[in-house]
Amino acid sequence: MIIIKKYFFYILLFTSITFSSQITIKEVLEKIEAIHKLPQDITANVTLIQQKASQGIRKFEVLYYRRDSDDSYLIVMLYPESEKGNGYLRVGDNFWMYRKNTRTFQHINRDENIAGSNAKAQDFERRPITELYEGIKDSTGKELITEEKLGQIPVYKLEIKAKVTNIDYPIKKLWVRKDNYLILKEESYSSSKTLMQTSYFLKYTTVKDKFIPVDQLYIDEFEKGNKTQVKITGISFEKLDDKIFTKAYLENLSK
């Protein structure tokens, strides 16, 4: 589930191309921020292949609907069979968990963990990156942003720290393409500056001039051997019907 939320964050993140020569971390974040908000509704199929050293390989598949205009989204589990039909619905301030077996909706808190995972309801909210993170400065007051190459691609490498407390990782390093500001790699650190996770955005596709990371790889740096691959298909920016973001729709979908 933690990977699902990462994925959706990046769906929202990469949508346009801009250029700049002299740039600060704030400006890079603002450019990311500018391309962050989706002008349209989105529908997508997301597949997660989770590999854990102790548990082998597990696959999850979800159907995702999102509409930013009223902070609504719907997640319906498609695979594995044991989870099929379960879902999560967010409309405004309300957030419900639906369990197919009992056919009940349970009101859950935005601060609460979802399905026993590390993901929280608030992680699915659209949260502007500039409100969450700011650039880190060294002892001389200089921002930690450098130009380098990731493989053969020129990138900005920037180090950012959390401005608020209620986020997953307090420190991050981002490798952002110089030409189009797509994030290629991200390292997430704990407060003690221990590397916790490395994320690679392997492949982007364009749909209606928007960049979508359709292949992502998350490597657990704490427990070696754990990794998750996220693949996305069936992306659509068609306007979503109001009825989709209702309890009845989720219930019917799960039948």
Binding site: A53, S54, D93, Q106, H107, I108, N109, R110, D111, E112, N113, N118, K120, A162, T165, N166, I167, D168, Y169, P170, S188, S190, S191, S192, T194, M196, Q197, F222, E223
Partner: protein, 590 residues
């Protein structure tokens, strides 16, 4: 009377075999009853003095923020400690309760663990400290190294967990966990001791010094996650009384921050109050306060609203859309805290403290209120209380939400879920005695007592059938004898009393024998060492031994009950024997 007692005792020896067999049955029943009662009492003592005492305290105070059961934090821990100490004079120890789930990696081994905070020096006496230490049978290292400042985050770990993680004494364990803010963190722990768990539940946790755990979990020095209180005297009797007292002490007052409101170069004293989000409270505010001006398109007392009192407007010349700064002295910070607000609403004069107040939506209010807990001004509270009779007071938020006394753990969780529904950011406080917080464990005791009671009653029912049957046979055999003694002048009631006393003495002697047998069996069973590390029932043993706690009053009570039942059972056959006419009894022939 003496001769009746003499005859009754003599009669006991007449049918030796029958009486011995019946006596053995009663003695066996009594033995089982004493054993079961002593076992149940022993278990009860273990539950109260070993399990509940160390797992949830006799009284517990728990906190949760944003309706999230796992976000256990309260920012004014010192106040909580003071309330507990002032209200409960009978405190044996105060333990902070913090537990965090984590993923641990040792030497090529990993496992899920729960990090639990304990304070080995929080117990009242040296004896209790030692008792707590003995609860963890340390097989390598030292229990009190938990607080060793020379070790990096020292921990105590069970031997089975040490095997899974492949670590030894002074090895390093890395853990990944989420701190109190939900951020992923990692840290290094040093194995300071390896203990043999007394039961399966003790295998999972790794124990840290509470101060260290609070630090790595992101708690501030004045924050508290929960509180377990153990009582010195008779917790079974006193827990409820002290919990009631503590509950009353936790009743919240109106939440406020007193400071200065600054606009441009001017600054005036002001009170910040939070108003509730629900529609009823908004209606109360709308009915009680008239709006002078509002920033379009805002609605009065909306979710991001800031309303300024009449006198503040007048003195500062502030208008809607302006930004102002409210600063106040936090309780635990040296510097004043400043919060910027955009004024959305101006309100008319009310001739109450509201004229000097900024009314802030509860979401915005709690954000700074909890993160920078304001200093309290008791005299100010008096002026706020001056409009206590006013209905408007119900529209303002309180310091926290005190949950009703839940009867069970499940009921408490349900209450917190209800809080989640109203989406309040207020901290909820729950005060519970062990009867509520450990309702599941206590339910185990009740269930075992019930099973024991039913089993013993069935056993006695069978025995009593034996008593009745035996007595009928005796009376039938002695019919002519009854006729003889009645013919020579013995009264009816004397005849009846002979039989009753005979049963009474038989039962009494049997009970005494049963009690002696019970003590012998208890001693024998207590000596047997039972190795049940992997069995949850192992928690009901003391150092691998069954604990029996026979009580004098319990034994006297059961003996009396059995004597009464036997005598009552014997009464009707005895009465029937006494009513026989002497002539017909003498004519009786078999």
């Amino acid at each position: 009377m003496n001769f009746i007692v003499y005859i009754a005792l003599r009669n006991l020896l007449r049918q030796k075999r029958r009486n011995i067999l019946l006596g053995i049955s009663i003695a066996f029943g009594m033995m089982i009853l004493v054993l079961a009662n002593s076992f149940s009492r022993g278990m009860s003592e273990i539950i109260f003095n070993k399990i509940i005492k160390y797992t949830s305290g006799h009284i517990s105070v728990s906190f949760s923020q944003n309706g999230n059961l796992y976000r256990m934090i309260f920012k004014d821990g010192d106040r909580v400690f003071n309330i507990a100490k002032n209200k409960i004079p009978d405190i044996s120890s105060l333990q902070e309760a913090i537990g965090i789930m984590a993923r641990a990696i040792g030497n090529k081994g990993s496992d899920n663990v729960i990090m639990i905070g304990i304070d080995p020096y929080s117990y009242g006496t040296k004896k209790e400290e030692q008792e707590a230490a003995e609860n963890f049978k340390i097989i390598d290292g030292n229990f009190f190294d938990l607080t060793n400042p020379n070790l990096e985050n020292p921990v105590l770990i069970s031997d089975s967990k040490a095997r899974t993680l492949n670590v030894k004494l002074h090895d390093i364990i890395s853990v990944r966990y989420q701190d109190i803010n939900g951020q992923h963190q990692t840290c290094r722990l040093t194995v300071a001791g390896i203990f043999k768990p007394v039961n399966i539940f003790m295998s999972a946790p790794i124990l840290l010094y509470t101060k260290n755990l609070k630090k790595i979990a992101g708690y501030g020095p004045h924050d508290i996650g929960g509180l377990y209180i153990t009582l010195k005297t008779d917790p079974k009797k006193n827990a409820k009384k002290w919990t009631d007292s503590l509950y009353n002490a936790f009743k919240p007052k109106i939440a406020y921050a007193y400071g200065n409101l600054s606009y441009k170069q001017k600054s005036v004293s002001a009170i910040a109050l939070g108003y509730k989000n629900d529609s009823l409270s908004k209606q109360i505010l709308m009915d009680s306060i008239k709006i002078l001006n509002i920033l379009p398109p805002k609605k009065p007392f909306g979710k991001d609203g800031i309303a300024i009192g009449f006198l503040l407007q007048k003195e500062l010349g502030i208008k809607v859309g302006d930004s102002c700064i409210f600063s106040y002295q936090p309780k635990y910070e040296d510097k004043n805290y400043c919060q910027k607000f955009y004024v959305t609403t101006l309100i008319e004069e009310t001739k109450t403290s509201i004229d000097n107040s900024i009314l802030i939506n509860e979401n915005l209010f709690y954000d700074f209120y909890y993160n920078h807990w304001p200093k309290s001004y008791d005299s100010l509270l008096v002026s706020l209380i001056s409009f206590k009779q006013s209905k408007i007071l119900n529209a303002f938020v309180k310091e926290w939400i005190l949950l009703k006394r839940a009867k069970t753990t499940q009921e408490l969780q349900k209450q917190i879920r209800e809080i989640a529904k109203i989406k309040s950011r207020a901290i909820t406080i729950s005060v519970q005695s062990m009867y509520e917080s450990a309702s599941v464990v206590l339910g185990l005791e009740v269930a075992l007592n019930l099973i024991t009671f039913v089993a013993v009653m069935i056993l006695f029912f069978i025995i009593l059938i034996g008593v009745v049957n035996s007595l009928r046979m005796t009376i039938k055999e002695r019919t002519r004898e009854i006729g003889t003694i009645r013919a020579i002048g013995m009264q009816k009631n004397h005849v009846r009393n002979i039989f009753l006393l005979e049963t009474f003495f038989l039962t009494l002697f049997s009970c005494i024998c049963g009690i002696i047998m019970a003590f012998v069996v208890m001693t024998g069973l207590s000596l047997i060492k039972i190795d049940v590390q992997d069995n949850p029932l192992g928690m009901l043993l003391v150092n691998g031994h069954i604990k029996f706690v026979p009580t004098f009053y319990g034994i006297v009570f059961y003996t009396t009950v059995i004597l009464l039942i036997s005598v009552a059972t014997a009464y009707f056959p005895s009465k029937k024997a006494a009513r026989m006419s002497a002539a017909s009894a003498l004519r009786h022939y078999e």
